[in-house]
């Protein structure tokens, strides 16, 4: 067992940064806040690497199985004897891997932002938010309790919200951050209800106990969860499916993906960190965390995960082919790649060779973090240089941005699955796992991988080749403002990530991460790789044919596929459907009537009571007319009435 203190420091240091910069940043650390943030994160990264080294090579393995260690646990909120929210740290292969990924990418982004955000008015706030996000994400990956994960889940959501809305005076950014928060929030309700279901049946919120209870058929919890059913589906499946809804929301799975492209309104380094490498894979992480329960107790839920992942991967890839905003292309590409990870989990089984998909998914998560962060940071460098997100404003930039160009190319090759870059290895494993377990998903994945190569190189050629540079068109007007690629602080992360993207594939991932903690030896099947690699290369060549030089082929092809192209260009109208549902149905058919009902019916009733009382008293007032004779008549009537009452009724 490690000494937990230093592991706890990994998330706590960014939190300290957040508090320090958030409260005092504007006054005292106007210019130094970036350095402070980056320095704190550097310590975290070193600690994370140290933890990883210790875990994987020193104490983590007992009898050939990686253990789940809980070195720290503190009761945060006790509900009943067994059920409590604990703040704890769980150390297992996945969380350690995530620690490394998150700290590393976050560090890269911190350093990169020193250049990218330089001179921004709210520089300290930016770093404070980054610190908050890093803290939340690290807290999320080490959560030992399902409610703890929910807590940090919400926190990453809010830091994502804050960072997307960082340029808060831009209406589109404000709309995007709102959208991101609400869509993921909607998914989180599913997660929450899922937690409630799982916690109720297992009688605990602690991950380890929960997994043990719900995977052993002899426990009471398992029996009750499997027996209780709602609409013909067992409570266990419901719970897992709802938890997955939460994961799907955060991971931008179809149909909850609509927030991700809009989220690109945030600063580009933020997109790299949150919306490419770390936060959006939280959904994958969540499914991986609960993987034994999915795989052993509810294969149906797992199959659903697989199909949702596959469909998302395909749809996102198709849409990505038509987008012109480079960040949006990357966003859809992210969605597509996360779809890969999801269906890899979906086709996996628990234990041994059958668990290949699990390993592959984690592997892809790891490599994807490297190359996707790299792509975003590269795109950031381009945007920083050009001041535009649109492809049509770019072209021929390879001369002006040589480092960016090379690193971007490496990332593109990696994501396209060209050997020997990182993406190739992880993708091959995923395809293999899919091939072995689910043919339909395998074919979808294969097509997607071809599309991936195509749209990535469409992007690449459009930025760095194609038409003459807009700088020449603009008459070199912007030259004076810029000093090339943004200097060392922006280039260093690119290079480091490029190294990762190129070399990460050689890590024998199965040795470290597998569904049951035992070592998994992955074999490399040459003949199997032929198809995907060939498809990938074909995609690249088509992209090159279409976009390397300026020509009218893209327009022709777009015209020949007009309806499909149009639909894809409009993202299959999913946004419009959502707008319709929210505006027309929720606002107009629920909200407005509710407000109307309250104002007129409920409040009307109350006012009617008041007015009724007033009217009655008004008419009673008339009786007190001051006319003696009227009084006498009332008196007589009263006497006669009372007399009748006493004579005929009372006796």
């Amino acid at each position: 067992m490690p000494n937990a203190t230093y592991i706890a420091l990994i998330p706590l240091l960014p939190l300290a940064g957040f508090l320090m910069l958030g409260i005092f940043g504007r006054k005292y650390f106007k210019n130094t806040s970036g350095v402070i943030g980056a320095a704190l994160l550097l310590i975290s990264t070193v600690l994370a690497l140290y933890t990883a080294y210790g875990y994987f090579f020193e104490y983590g393995k007992v009898d050939g199985v990686y253990q789940k260690l809980v070195p720290l646990k503190y009761t945060w909120l006790q509900f009943s004897e067994n059920v409590s929210i604990d703040m704890g740290i769980i150390i297992d292969p996945v969380s350690v891997m995530m620690l490394v990924v998150v700290t590393f990418v976050s560090l890269m982004v911190h350093i990169y932002s020193l250049g990218y955000m330089k001179g921004d008015e709210r520089f300290p706030t930016y770093y404070a938010f980054l610190g908050l996000f890093t803290f939340s994400m690290l807290g999320l990956v080490v959560s030992s309790n399902i409610f703890q994960i929910y807590i940090f889940w919400e926190l990453v959501g809010v830091s994502s919200f804050l960072l997307i809305g960082y340029y808060y005076d831009k209406p589109s950014a404000v709309a995007a951050c709102k959208k991101a928060f609400i869509v993921t929030r909607f998914a989180d309700v599913g997660f929450l209800i899922g937690i409630l279901i799982l916690a109720f049946h297992s009688g605990t919120l602690d991950f380890n106990t929960l997994i043990t209870t719900l995977t052993s058929p002899e426990t009471e919890g398992y029996k009750s969860a499997a027996a209780a059913s709602f609409m013909g589906v067992s409570a266990l499946t419901w719970g897992l499916a709802l938890v997955f809804v939460g994961g799907a929301g955060k991971s931008a799975m179809f149909p909850l993906h609509i927030w991700l492209p809009d989220a690109m309104e945030g600063p580009t380094p933020v997109s790299a960190l949150i919306h490419a490498a770390t936060m959006v894979v939280a959904g994958v992480f969540l499914v991986a965390r609960l993987f034994p329960v999915f795989a052993i107790s509810s294969p149906n839920a797992l199959t659903m995960v697989g199909y949702v992942g596959a469909i998302s991967a395909l749809i996102a890839a198709i849409i990505a082919c038509t987008q012109t905003d480079i960040k949006r292309v990357l966003a859809y590409s992210t969605m597509s790649q996360i779809g890969y990870m999801m269906f890899a989990l979906g086709v996996s089984k628990y234990g041994g060779e059958e668990g290949l998909g699990y390993t592959a998914s984690m592997f892809h998560l790891f490599t994807h973090a490297m190359f996707k962060a790299l792509l975003f940071l590269g795109a950031g460098a381009v945007i920083h240089y050009i001041h535009s997100n649109e492809m049509k404003d770019m072209g021929g930039l390879r001369k002006y941005l040589p480092v960016t160009h090379i690193t971007f190319l490496i990332a593109c090759l990696a994501i396209a699955g060209v050997p020997p870059f990182a993406g190739f290895f992880s993708k091959e494993e995923i395809l293999l796992a899919a091939y072995e377990h689910n043919t339909a998903i395998y074919w979808i994945a294969l097509i997607t991988s071809g599309l991936t190569a195509f749209y990535m190189f469409r992007l690449y050629f459009n930025i760095f080749w194609n038409a003459p540079s807009p700088l020449e068109r603009a008459g070199g007007e912007v030259h004076g403002e810029h000093h090339g690629e943004g200097g060392f602080v922006m280039m260093m992360p690119l290079v480091l990530l490029a190294v990762g993207a190129a070399g990460a594939g050689f890590i024998p991932f199965g040795h470290f991460i597998s569904s049951d903690g035992k070592q998994l030896n992955t074999e490399f099947h040459l003949q199997f790789s032929i198809a995907p690699v060939a498809l990938g290369l074909a995609g690249i060549f088509i992209a090159m044919w279409m976009y390397k030089k300026q020509n009218n082929r893209p327009d022709k092809i777009a015209a020949s596929l007009s309806s499909l192209y149009k639909a894809a260009y409009h993202k299959f109208y999913i946004d419009e459907i959502y707008t319709f549902i929210t505006q027309k149905i929720i606002f107009n058919l629920i909200g407005r009537p509710a407000a109307w009902f309250d104002k007129n019916v409920v409040d009307g009733m109350i006012n009617a009571t008041g007015n009724g009382t007033k009217d009655i008293s008004e008419s009673i007032k008339g009786l007190q007319s001051g006319k003696v004779q009227s009084y006498a008549i009332y008196f007589l009537a009263g006497v006669i009435g009372l007399a009748l009452l006493f004579i005929y009724w009372w006796t």
């Binding site: 004779q629 008549i633 007589l636 009537a637 006497v639 006669i640 007399a643 009748l644 004579i647």
Partner: protein, 172 residues
């Protein structure tokens, strides 16, 4: 049918008819005169019942006092001979109905009720008997109510003067 009976019915008729006329006539002075007849009729009934003292008091106080007072007040407040304003028809009908219903109710009760009478020896209501008991202080004596009524009369006297006093003009 004896003469006494005839006299009773006669008195009763005078009383009721003049009472009705007193409340229905439109001439206020005539109303006062009808009231006078009605009161005299009641005094007659007291005579008929052989309660002479009460009859005398009735004539002295009512006929001689109150009716005269009323007539004076009519002179003070009203031009004689002027017709009284007519009450609304609805009010008249309603009042008649109410009075009739009330009367019917009371009569119904009276008819249904069986009165029991005492078997003791009768006491003659002579003036001396009345005087003895009125001022008697032994059991059954009425001296205390008598005093109280005297004080009440005194108070009424003073009260009348206070009310009827012309209020002095405020501003001086």
């Amino acid at each position: 049918m004896s003469g006494a009976n005839i006299i009773f019915y006669l008195l009763a008729a005078i009383t009721l008819v003049s009472a009705v006329l007193a409340v229905t006539t439109r001439m206020i002075f005539r109303a006062a005169i009808y009231l006078l007849f009605c009161l005299i009729g009641i005094a007659g009934i007291y005579f008929w019942l052989q309660y002479e003292f009460i009859a005398a008091v009735q004539i002295v106080v009512y006929v001689g006092g109150i009716v005269v007072l009323i007539i004076f007040s009519i002179f003070l407040t009203q031009q004689a001979g002027e017709e009284l304003p007519k009450q609304k028809m609805g009010r008249q009908l309603f009042s008649a109905l109410a009075a009739f219903c009330g009367m019917a109710l009371v009569m119904l009760q009276l008819v249904q009720h069986k009165f029991t009478t005492t078997a003791n020896k009768a006491v003659e209501p002579t003036v001396s008997n009345i005087g003895n008991q009125m001022l008697g202080v032994e059991e059954g004596g009425y001296s205390l109510p008598f005093e109280v009524v005297s004080i009440l009369l005194l108070a009424a006297l003073i009260g009348c003067i206070v009310i009827a006093l012309k209020s002095k003009p405020e501003a001086k």
